[in-house]
Amino acid sequence: MRAGNLLEVNGLKKYFPVQRSLASRLFGQRPGWLKAVDGVDLFIREGETLGLVGESGSGKSTLGRTVVGLYEATAGEVRFEGRPVKELSPQERKSFRQKVQMIFQNPYSSLNPRKTVRQILDVPLRMRGVPGPERPSEMEELLERVGLSRWHLNQYPHQLSGGQRQRIGIARALAVHPRFIVADEPVSALDVSVQAQIINLLMDLQEQFRLTYLFIAHDINVVHHISNRIAVMYLGRVVEIAGSEELLTAPRHPYTKALISAIPEISKIRRRERILLEGTIPSPLNPPPGCCFQTRCPEKKDPVCTQIVPTLKDVGGDHFVACHLY
């Protein structure tokens, strides 16, 4: 593990078993596997934000959940602070779970509707071992940090707006003093004007607490705004990682190029040539052989692209691409 890396992911795979029909099982067919994450390598440096973009079904949420330990990896390893998470003792695992937190996409479903804000925030504070009498003042401080007030403590989630609920989700994650936060589409369910408030809040908190983020979203403009580096996922694999400015201005992978050209732009002046991709993302139940993007790639070369899986190659300047063209 390189110095300065807080988290490393090596060859991570997460397959979900798919139940086939009774008839096919009787005839001895093996159950299928949905390859949600299929061999991902990446690292996240201390204090940085790594953005993770990809379309629905690309496996970005599954990757995030496997990294924090909500899913058990099928293969590969996650190393946190230099140690493989799998080898942690029960005691260390508890501390890992406090240092690594998650913010979920939908603030409407990730908070228990039958609990008040006070009850929601009480659990993580108790986990951190804050004694009962000190909790109220800690809660007030937390709420203030995320831009809410003491007044919200006795409210239920349904009494809060979407933006306020997401702030509670953030406060809950902060309550255990994490070092690393996986934010899975934290602003996609919010209106534009509220989205900007939450993005600013996440950036302020990062500075205050020296947090490291894995920021998952499908909106590339948002990801670019908040991230130092961006990883692009397609069909369970990372196809390109680069500094966020570099990725937007000089993408290398044909998929990244198409993805970036597809973003509608407000300014009509510097409109990019639009690359329209044919078709849709293949099913992760039955991914194509060779490069995962070969079925839609405008620059496909036979036979190498249809047979050999490309690996991430360093193309210089902290830029990695998994494509046979390079």
Binding site: D191, S193, V194, I220, H225, A258, L259, I266, G279, T280
Partner: protein
């Protein structure tokens, strides 16, 4: 071709009458694309539903007039209105998963409006295949008998567009047609809408929360907030030289590559107000950085800011 005059929509609720749309006036010429942009609860979808009279009439109070090619749509009988829906004006809804009926095959669903309006008698199948071809569904002969769950999200949305186009409507209402789709698929659908507009001169009203999408497709844009239009004008003007504080706020709240990277985003404080409990005067004044005394008292009057560019703001008047 379409003239919306002082449209107001009020819903009867347990908490009394809720005004979802107030005093909306819009004008659309033949072959043009108009965008209505706003956040959730701004009333933008309600305007579309009011045009086709899709709102439950016993719980809704409609005021104002909607003139389509010389006819007042609100004055039509239910039968006459049915002849307009799908044939003259048709609609594309947001969520392809819930718009299509899961138990009918795609071909039947596209042919349905042809049968209702009695068009292409005896040639329905050919017309369905032609439509599927036109909206870019590959190998229509094989897919016409498939069911919605066999289609991907993007293909479902194409099928819905084929349904909407079946009777060659003159006006297409698109309510967030790409919101449920991925960016690369969104780009395909936007190109398709543009192509339909060019080849058939179909007028389009696009409702979206995505300013960039509206910028991409529309010639004119109306920005709505809390049930009212706050600013409208040619797309370039609205996006490059917006005058209303809300439009400006919305534009600066969107991260832009190359401009805002790593910096703090400008935000609009607070949240969208509850329609049942709107602030008096200009509904935006509690969040407005420029608000003054008059803003809290009276609803702003329209101000001409330039050629076809109108806004509703007291600050601009002074």
């Amino acid at each position: 071709m379409l003239d919306i005059k002082h449209l107001s929509v009020k819903f009867k609720t347990r908490h009394g009458m809720v005004r979802a749309v107030s005093e909306v006036s819009l004008h659309l010429d033949k072959g043009r694309i108009l965008g209505i942009v706003g956040e959730s609860g701004s009333g933008k979808s309600t305007v579309l539903n009011a045009i086709l009279r899709l709102l439950p009439e016993k719980d809704v109070l409609l005021e104002g007039r909607i003139i389509y090619e010389g006819t007042d749509l609100f004055a039509l009988s239910p039968q006459a209105m049915r002849a307009v829906r799908g044939k003259e004006i048709s609609m594309i809804f947001q969520d392809p998963m819930t718009t299509l009926n899961p138990v009918y095959n795609i071909g039947n669903q596209i042919a349905e409006s042809l049968k209702i309006h009695g068009l292409y008698r005896g040639r329905e199948r050919e017309r369905v295949l032609e439509l599927m071809q036109e909206v870019g569904i590959p190998s229509p002969e094989n897919r016409v008998l498939e069911y919605p769950h066999q289609f991907s999200g993007g293909m479902q949305q194409r099928a819905i567009i084929a349904i909407a186009l079946a009777c060659e409507p003159k006006l297409l209402l698109a309510d967030e047609p790409t919101t449920a789709l991925d960016v690369t698929i969104q780009a395909q659908i936007v190109e398709l809408l543009r192509k339909i507009n060019r080849t058939h001169h179909t007028s389009i009203i696009l409702v979206t929360h995505n300013l960039a999408l509206a910028a991409d497709l529309c010639e004119e844009i109306a920005v709505m907030y809390a049930g009212r239009i706050v600013e409208k004008g040619p797309a370039e003007v609205i996006l490059q030289d917006p005058r209303h504080p809300y439009t400006r706020g919305l534009l600066s709240a969107v991260p832009l590559p190359g401009i805002t990277h790593g910096a703090r985003l400008t935000t609009i404080p607070g949240t969208v107000p509850d329609l049942a409990d709107l602030p008096p005067g200009c509904a935006f004044h509690p969040r407005c950085p420029l608000a003054g005394k008059e803003c809290a008292r009276l609803v702003p009057e329209p101000v001409e800011a330039g050629d076809r560019h109108v806004l509703w703001c007291w600050r601009e008047l002074n």
